[in-house]
């Protein structure tokens, strides 16, 4: 990994989205992405045995990582609004990986959890984020449903559902009701956590 001037930021990405190579979206979806992936599958000899859902071959594990890294370096990311490709150098990618957070605190007070990397051999279980995971949720049952997750001892944090209505209105995207709905979701989940006696729980 060679030195770089500074890490990539959202502002750099936006600038590259305006100046990168112009590509037709159909070419991206049906040619560039699948063809590059197939090429890298061959180059790195990636072969998955579906009876071994988790890979046991360390060479396969490392080759897959290298293939994914090269996929990102070679293709970059397509911006659908500008029709241009955002590219990174390999060193920019490697610095971002190296600079990724090594831990973070999820939630507050006695419900706070320190999330740290796990090994596949780790005896420490993962964090359990319980909830409807973006599924549609009725307004009248939103709080009781989320309280039922918060009261489960094995659940560490909540991932919420999506309000189908707010004050009886359809929260149409890009309307004021959408803002009312998403703010209410956060407020209702916090209320549900408090009702379960877990006010510091992460959301």
């Amino acid at each position: 990994m060679r030195a770089i001037g500074k890490k990539v930021t959202m502002f750099d990405v936006y600038d590259r989205a305006k100046t990168g190579a112009k590509v037709a979206e159909n070419d991206w979806d049906y040619k560039i992405v699948p063809q590059t992936a197939t090429e890298l599958k061959t180059k790195y000899q990636i072969k998955i045995d579906k009876t071994k859902i988790i890979p046991e071959d360390e060479q396969l594990v490392n080759n897959l990582f290298q293939a994914g890294l090269e996929m990102l370096e070679r293709c970059g990311i397509y911006c659908i609004d500008t029709g241009r490709v955002i590219k990174y150098t390999r060193d920019e990618i490697l610095h971002a990986i190296e600079g990724a957070p090594r831990s973070f605190t999820y939630g507050e007070g006695k419900e706070a959890i320190l999330v740290v990397p796990r090994s596949y051999k780790d005896k420490k279980p993962p964090v359990i984020q319980g909830g409807p995971t973006g599924s549609p949720c009725s307004e009248e049952l939103f709080i009781p449903i989320h309280q039922s997750y918060a009261q489960e001892p094995v659940v560490d944090t909540i991932v919420d559902g999506v309000l189908q209505t707010i004050m009886g209105k359809d929260p149409v995207p890009n309307s004021p009701w959408e803002i009312m709905a998403v703010r209410s979701e956060a407020l209702f989940v916090r209320d549900a956590q408090c009702r379960a006696g877990r006010s510091g729980m992460g959301l």
Partner: protein, 240 residues
């Protein structure tokens, strides 16, 4: 929302982004929030087959940390035909991508759960268990779910599925990898033949006393059937 809550922004399928996501991401980054970047690669979609989807899953995961300054990445490889994360192919993509990243970086990874069967069914709980084993033994840090019955119907989910996800994760953490693969192969085989007749299940208000917030006796019985099945496969977590 507190800074210590996870603030979500999503990438698009496959290896795509919109300017709106960059705007949202810039706000999160400047506010110093915990940032969760989500993306669900599609097996059988633009990527193509199993290996190609796994390669794109690795690339997408890395991109969350390059482009959007993620604190953690929320994955969710999904099967194009069934729209679920618990199909054998979706699990294989998730298991391979997570292990590849876990072995080569310290990036923090989550996975989200979409089952085919609905709440209060054995199949839904076994699908959930299979993914919890996959995620735990491939080194993921956060399990997020469960969106039962594909997460498309109103109130078709309950905390009992989350309980299963959590208890199985606790049951298998530290299990030998080869032993886990044998168990997983049997477990997935037990439900994958039933996709076309997957039970729709019951809604939250049919599964819970909505005032007392207690699951029904019927659901507890189904849950116990799942425990018996998993115990029969060798898990000892519930032998207390």
């Amino acid at each position: 929302m507190r800074p210590s809550d996870s603030h979500e922004v999503s990438q698009l399928n496959e290896l795509k982004i919109d300017v709106g996501a960059l705007v949202v991401g810039a706000h999160y980054a400047l506010a110093g929030n915990v940032v969760m970047v989500e993306q669900m690669p599609i097996f059988g979609g633009y990527a193509g087959g199993l290996e190609e989807t796994a390669i794109i899953d690795v690339a997408t995961t890395i991109n969350s940390f390059v482009m959007l300054q993620a604190t953690w990445h929320l994955d969710g490889p999904v099967h194009v035909r069934w729209g679920i994360t618990t199909a054998r192919e979706a699990l294989a993509v998730a298991g391979h991508a997570a292990r590849a990243i876990e072995a080569n970086t310290h990036m923090i990874l989550g996975n989200q759960y979409y089952t085919l069967a609905g709440p209060c069914t054995l199949m839904c709980l076994l699908e959930t268990a299979a993914q919890a084993i996959t995620d735990t033994i491939s080194g993921r840090e956060i399990l997020s779910g469960v969106a039962a019955a594909k997460g498309v119907s109103t109130d078709m989910f309950t905390a009992m599925e989350a309980r299963m996800m959590g208890e199985v994760a606790h049951a298998v953490a530290g299990m030998d990898l080869k032993e886990a693969n044998i168990l997983l192969d049997k477990l997935v085989a037990s439900y994958e033949k039933d996709y076309k007749t997957a039970p729709k299940g019951k809604s939250f208000s049919e599964c819970y006393d909505v005032k007392a917030l207690q699951p029904t006796d019927e659901y507890l019985e189904v849950y116990n059937q799942a425990i018996d099945f998993l115990t029969g496969l060798g898990l000892t977590y519930w032998n207390k």
